[in-house]
């Protein structure tokens, strides 16, 4: 009755080796790399400057302006929300989605009563 996560070892971890190998390669590539000295920001509040940049205003730290990107992101979020609602909606609740029957499946999954496992 414990809910504590347990370490499961087995063959399914084998493909994880690819991720480990990727890390090894990236670490081997990054560590010897040489960068110029870090410039950083001289003065002013970074957070405030980000706020100004998002609304195309001049802040303490000079920056590019992102108002259009900001607005588009807003639209995108609305779209994602709508899409998620549409996907999550139960199809037999209403015909408003245009789906005629609950038997219609998007990818031809198992028929009712069929056990695929």
């Amino acid at each position: 009755m414990t809910t504590r996560p347990r370490l499961q070892l087995g063959r399914h971890l084998l493909s994880g080796l690819a991720a480990v190998a990727l890390f090894a390669v990236m670490a081997a590539a990054f560590l010897p790399a040489q960068f110029p000295p870090v410039r950083g920001f001289e003065s002013g509040s970074i957070t405030a400057s980000i706020g100004y940049a998002l609304f195309d205003l001049s802040g303490p730290i000079a920056s590019e302006y992102f108002l259009v990107a900001f607005e588009i992101t807003g639209v995108l979020l609305v779209a994602a929300l709508t899409g998620a609602v549409m996907l999550a909606r139960r199809e037999n609740d209403s015909n408003a989605t245009g789906v005629a029957s609950r038997d219609v499946r998007t990818d031809g999954g198992p028929q009712p009563g069929e056990d695929r496992r």
Partner: protein, 100 residues
Amino acid sequence: MIPSQYYLVLSAAVFCIGLFGILTRRNALIFLMSVELMLNAANINFVAFSIQNGNLTGQVFSLFTIALAAAEVAVGIGIILVLYRNFNDVDVTTATTMRW
């Protein structure tokens, strides 16, 4: 100042942990979490190079990435719901109907 290489290694580590999760786990929800990890690895890089170059753009971009991640999660959860409805499970390895 912390050298930039360390940020990179950190980001690579976070990315690979996410990837490891995707490669080894079968639960679709864990998948979504792993993808979040990978996105945040990218955010680490954005912020690191923003400091490195003294340019604010990287910081703003990481904000956008977070917003996109939110959208992605919304859609992802929707897909998982459909997956569950069709296969009565959230195990990604059972949904193998879109093969040859």
